[in-house]
């Protein structure tokens, strides 16, 4: 996990566990305020709506929700900037109607040409406001049905043409304009809209003003399922995270903002601003303490992956589909949707099982194949998914917590598009990196009680090519600075001191080797004396069956690979002080392979 992702995840989780919420709702009276009660109601609704963003806009470092409200012709308009990149939520209230729009300026150029994407959260309609020289030239209305279908995830909307177009006189009709580069999927629109933020926003069509009541309360919020608009109980989980498809946002100037307000209101714009907020809080009650579920669902919407596996009702049935790939290098059945379906806890469990099967089973040729391996326990995943236990309790102790942390890393990378749609090996490596790094060697005992450390270590070296220093650290050993010396008298009467300044402790306590320069003068004597002291054999390359006088560097590397795969503790006696600091090609390779990063 790189530092950037770690930081994001840290923020992500920090916000999650904020124990108390600070609510600020400051109203400043305006000389033009005509209806205090309306404003109060408006603010209350806005506040309520914001509660549906469980991590409240503070997800991006240093970002707070910035809100401005204007009053004009009996309507209140609140523009809530989310992030600093041109995405906004727009709330309109005239006392009878409270309307919420999402607004993105991704396709609006800085010179005021292009399209502002608007999404109507009530009608579920998407509109494109086409601008020409900062003037609204057309409103493009997209078919509601396609939006709904996008939520259903049955297919990706490929219809770039708006359902209807309202042209404004004096401007270029849309029909003769160049093909608009519109956001053609709702999921992309959400990515665009909430760019820069992690956001999970449930919303109910049944009770549009009682958003926290979706499913009945915070517990139910966790259990929200993909939307079912057919039953009239539409719930939406919106995500999103920045940098998907390299989304860039333009600065949306006040002039353009005013124009939008003006045109939406079909009337004049008031310059009398009323500062109603900032609304900046996290509502713990409505926050989703296990928002991973929302993220997973959101990922589903983003990737639009609907493999046959997802059509199975249970996670166990879904996992059954992977059995045909149990001996395959390439797994054609997408794994990501399965993980999505499993939810955060189930995914953590599934990935952890897959990791250990992949690492320790010789007949498991790829990370993906592990999901179909005979030893993969579908019922255990299903149990973890169903119970949704706290991450540090499931699937168990430090291992479970490590797995849950690692799942977070993987999600970050998924959203960054790192794995494309099927780079499962890379995903597995990232999960392992996050998982074992979280353990940081502190769970070697717990690991050893469940799995063979030798097999895990070998798998991490042989199948995953992680560096030895890191793997030994994960498994309870690692690099240490030491000062171990032996004297050795040469045939000319000279006594030289041979010193090991570093050792890397492997996971097999019975296997020890020495590397360094001046083999006959230093390495062999050091190994012999250390063996005498420890009472166990200490190896050097000339004892290896592959050794010969014409040894090549590549052959030497094979010996080093054997040491690494078998978890040797390796002493490094370094260069020969009599001949300088040059490591030479053989010892230089050995040093890099064992102690390098």
């Amino acid at each position: 996990m790189n530092l950037n992702h770690f930081f994001k995840l840290f923020l992500f989780t920090s916000v999650l566990f904020v124990s108390s919420c600070r609510k600020e709702f400051i109203q400043t009276e305006s000389p033009i305020l005509t209806n205090k009660q309306l404003l109060k109601t408006h603010n209350s609704k806005v506040e309520t709506w914001i509660k549906l963003i469980p991590i409240g806009g503070q997800i991006k470092a240093g970002t707070k929700i910035s809100t401005k409200t204007i009053y004009n012709s009996g309507n209140f308009y609140t523009r809530m900037e989310i992030g600093d990149n041109g995405s906004s939520l727009l709330f309109i209230n005239n006392g009878d109607i409270f309307h919420v729009y999402g607004m993105s300026t991704k396709h609006l150029s800085s010179d005021g040409n292009g399209i502002v994407d608007i999404f109507d959260f009530q009608s579920m309609e998407k509109k494109g406001l086409r601008f020409s020289n900062k003037k609204l030239s057309a409103i493009q209305v997209y078919a509601k049905e396609t939006v709904f279908n996008a939520y259903e995830g049955n297919y990706q909307i490929n219809n770039n043409s708006p359902n209807s177009t309202i042209n404004f006189s004096g401007n270029t009709p849309l029909s003769s304009a160049s093909s608009p580069n519109l956001v053609n999927t709702l999921r992309k629109f959400f990515c665009q809209l909430f760019g820069g933020l992690w956001t999970v926003a449930p919303y109910s069509l049944d009770s549009p003003t009682e958003y926290c009541a979706v499913g009945g309360g915070p517990d139910e919020v966790q259990e929200m399922q993909p939307p079912d608009y057919g039953g009239g109980n539409l719930s939406i989980w919106g995500l999103i995270y920045a940098n998907i498809n390299n989304i860039n946002f333009f600065d949306f100037s006040s002039a353009m903002w005013n124009t939008i307000i003006s045109d939406l209101n079909a009337g004049g714009i008031s310059n009398n601003w009323l500062i109603t907020t900032p609304v900046s809080f996290i509502d713990q009650e409505c926050a989703d303490p296990d928002k991973m579920r929302g993220l997973f669902f959101a990922l589903n919407t983003y990737y639009n992956q609907q493999p046959s596996s997802l059509e199975y009702e249970t996670i166990e049935e879904t996992l059954d589909q992977y059995k045909i790939y149990k001996n395959q290098q390439q797994v054609l059945l997408p794994i990501i949707p399965m993980l999505i379906k499993a939810g955060a806890n189930g995914a953590a469990d599934a990935l952890m099982q897959a990791v250990f099967i992949y690492l320790t089973e010789d007949d498991c040729p790829s990370f993906g194949a592990a999901f179909g391996h005979d030893k993969f326990s579908k019922s255990q995943v299903a149990l973890s998914a169903a119970e949704g236990l706290l991450p540090w309790r499931t699937p168990g102790g430090k291992l479970g917590r490590g797995a849950f942390t690692a799942v977070g890393d993987v999600i970050v990378n998924l959203l960054d598009g790192k794995y494309g749609i099927n780079d499962y090996e890379e995903m597995g490596l990232d999960f392992m990196l996050g998982f074992f790094s979280d353990l940081a060697g502190g769970a070697a005992g717990e690991l050893a009680s469940k799995y063979s450390l030798g097999k895990i270590g070998k798998g991490l070296i042989k199948k995953c090519d992680f560096n030895y220093k890191m793997v030994t650290g994960w498994l309870g050993g690692g690099l240490s600075q030491i000062n171990k010396s032996f004297n050795h008298t040469l045939s000319n009467g000279q006594t030289i001191t041979i010193t090991a300044n570093k050792v890397i402790k492997g996971w097999d306590p019975q296997k020890i080797a020495v590397i360094g320069r001046s083999h006959d003068d230093r390495v062999v004597p050091f190994a012999n004396k250390l063996a005498n002291e420890l009472g166990i054999p200490v190896h050097q390359i000339k004892e290896w069956s592959g050794w010969n006088a014409n040894l090549t560097v590549d052959q030497n590397k094979q010996w080093i690979q054997k040491l690494k795969e078998e978890g040797y503790t390796i002493y490094d006696i370094g260069t020969d002080p009599r001949s300088g600091i040059d490591k030479g090609p053989f010892y230089g390779m050995e040093f890099d392979e064992i102690f390098g990063n």
């Binding site: 000319n492 009467g493 000279q494 001949s579 030479g584 090609p585 010892y587």
Partner: protein, 119 residues
């Protein structure tokens, strides 16, 4: 020696002795001479000279030639001595890849200067 020598080093023993044949009048004892084919150690004791012993340690694959002279009670490598007397360039004391002859000859020059100073 019947050991299989590293490729290209089949004549090493001959080349070593030839490069250091100027020492023949001084050699009192061959203390050590051995190889496993990947290295060569040759240690001689001299008589009636301030240089008491000369030890040649050559690892072929590592291209590491290390020659130590015992002068009275102290030990010096040819590299250290050369830095005082500037007999040859330092880099000439080290084998260049598998070309060891030049290094043997350069080291011999340094040793010759020291040994013959005392004659």
């Amino acid at each position: 020696m019947n050991l299989q020598m590293r490729n290209g080093y089949e004549n090493y023993e001959f080349d070593l002795h030839k490069s250091f044949d100027f020492l023949l009048p001084y050699i009192a004892e061959i203390v050590e001479e051995r190889s496993d084919g990947s290295f060569y150690v040759y240690c001689i004791r001299l008589s009636e000279n301030k240089v008491k012993t000369i030890r040649i340690y050559h690892e072929f694959a590592e291209q590491q030639l290390l020659i130590t002279l015992q002068i009275n009670h102290d030990y010096f490598t040819t590299l250290e001595i050369n830095r005082k007397i500037n007999a040859v360039k330092d880099e000439d004391l080290r084998p260049k890849g598998d070309d060891y002859l030049g290094a043997l000859y350069s080291n011999a020059q340094v040793i010759k200067r020291i040994v013959e100073e005392d004659s």
